[in-house]
Amino acid sequence: MSAIIECKNLTHYYGRRKIYENLNFEVPQGRILGLLGKNGTGKTTTINILSGYLQPHSGECRIFGENIQTMRPALRKRIGLLLEGHVQYQFMNITQIEKFYAAFYPGQWKKEAYYELMDKLKVAPKQPIARMSNGQRSQVALGLILAQNPELLILDDFSLGLDPGYRRLFVDYLRDYARSENKTVFLTSHIIQDMERLIDDCIIMDYGKILIQQPIDTLMHGFRRYTCTVPENYRPQLPESCYHPAVLRQTLELHSFLPPAEMESLLKAQQVPFTALKHENVSLEDAFIGLTGKY
């Protein structure tokens, strides 16, 4: 599979504050990749760099093999961009906005895809977007991207401001569209439950670095939560393969990619006074918290 997005040695600072250093990742063709991270880890920074609205301190990003800093209009035609908060031209109504965008995508614009989605919204054709709910605005923004019919979709925090119903609608519509049309999607969201239904691969970022990049199935099957009983006031000193070990009321909790047998051996080798070791597979949200910690 060829890479649609390639970022090499990406480094960025805001003033003296380092956001990340030497970040490398690729997004293969036809995959839906979710970028996950806590607030301030650089998700929106990455989206801004990818969409050409931020010049990185150093490093290079290529989309369809072309450097994004010199993105030609023909390349932008192949990329659908959803801004954080589903920002669109609020002074227009749904008919006007469709007419406006259609002029920029001759031969590629799928008017019917937009209106199919708009028909599901209970809004008058002349109602300005400014007077719509967040959920309705999200559908307008999504409808415009579907009509644009791009090869790559870049979506910044698509779940922002949406209630559960509209989040589900957005995810289901996007997933079906991306899968059936073999589109590549790069997205971020602060609601990780939504990602579980949608993404094929994930990148989990911590402050300044990428913790993991792997298919979601590998993560969900290989990452486990371990709990065991330990003496009161025990302070665990464990290697890096055990993520964020913490003791609460005689229960040691940690997360790891190690299989149960290896974990048991490791705890013994580290002379942890444990009993009743248990393990369980976790949801994506639990895996995210397990990897990045609660604080």
Binding site: Y14, N48, S51, G52, Y53, L54, Q55, P73, A74, R76, K77, I79, L81, L83, E84, G85, V87, Q88, Y89, Q90, F91, M92, Q96, K99, F100, Y101, A103, F104, Y105
Partner: protein, 223 residues
């Protein structure tokens, strides 16, 4: 694509433009009404004498109106573009970013030309009925720097609005005030006559300032 950009800008600014044009026509009409009243009271000959000997042009009411309209139009047109960084939408369209940066102010300038033309038309139709060609020319040329200030105000506020950082916006605002001062240095009739072509070029060059703001926006400059 050019039509689409004009379409978007029109939807955004049409109500303001309508109100601004009506307001400008109202003020121009009021100024001309005062001329008409003065003629009724003192006779047209008296006005001719005052115009020639005392440099009166009778439309001073208009002095700052085009500037206010220019500033207002730029705010109505560009403020929504910077809310939630909506400008990214326009710059992501498959169209040259430089052309887009120049096309948006071009839409506003075209609208201002139409708006200001109503005032000039009213003066150009009414005044020749009572005044000699030279005196009409004097009024229209004396008012020209005010209308150029309207265009300049528009371009300068566009520059300030599109600037992505607040610190720089304040600096731009101070520079803009100094630049605008040039249009109101000499209040006398036809004081700018020899300078008008240069003032026009100076005004048009201000359009390039938007390119600086846009380049800074694209580079992701932040406070």
């Amino acid at each position: 694509m050019i039509r689409a950009v004009f379409y978007k800008e029109w939807i955004k600014t049409r109500w303001f433009l309508l109100l601004a044009t009506l307001f400008l026509m109202g003020i121009t009409g009021y100024a001309l009404l005062r001329v008409s009243r003065a003629m009724a009271l003192h006779g047209v000959e008296h006005l001719w004498v005052v115009m020639v000997q005392k440099d009166a042009i009778f439309v001073d009411l208009l002095t700052y109106i085009p500037l206010m309209i220019g500033i207002g139009l730029a705010a109505v047109q560009f403020f929504p573009e910077m809310q939630n960084k909506r400008l990214k939408l326009a710059l992501h369209l498959p169209y040259s970013r430089q052309k887009m940066t120049l096309l948006m102010p071009a839409c506003g300038l075209s609208a201002l030309v139409c708006c200001f033309a109503t005032s000039y038309l009213m003066m150009g139709i009414y005044l020749p009925r009572y005044f000699a060609h030279e005196l009409v020319r004097r009024v229209l040329l004396s008012a020209a720097p005010w209308f150029l200030a309207g265009f300049a105000g528009y371009l300068l506020v566009a520059w300030i609005c599109l600037e992505p950082t607040w610190k720089r916006r304040v600096l731009n605002l101070i520079i803009a005030l100094l630049v605008l001062r040039v249009y109101f240095l000499a209040p006398g009739a036809e004081a700018y006559n020899g300078f008008l072509p240069w003032l026009t070029v100076y005004t048009l060059l201000l359009a390039c300032l938007s390119l600086i703001s846009m380049a800074r926006f694209k580079a992701g400059k932040q406070d």
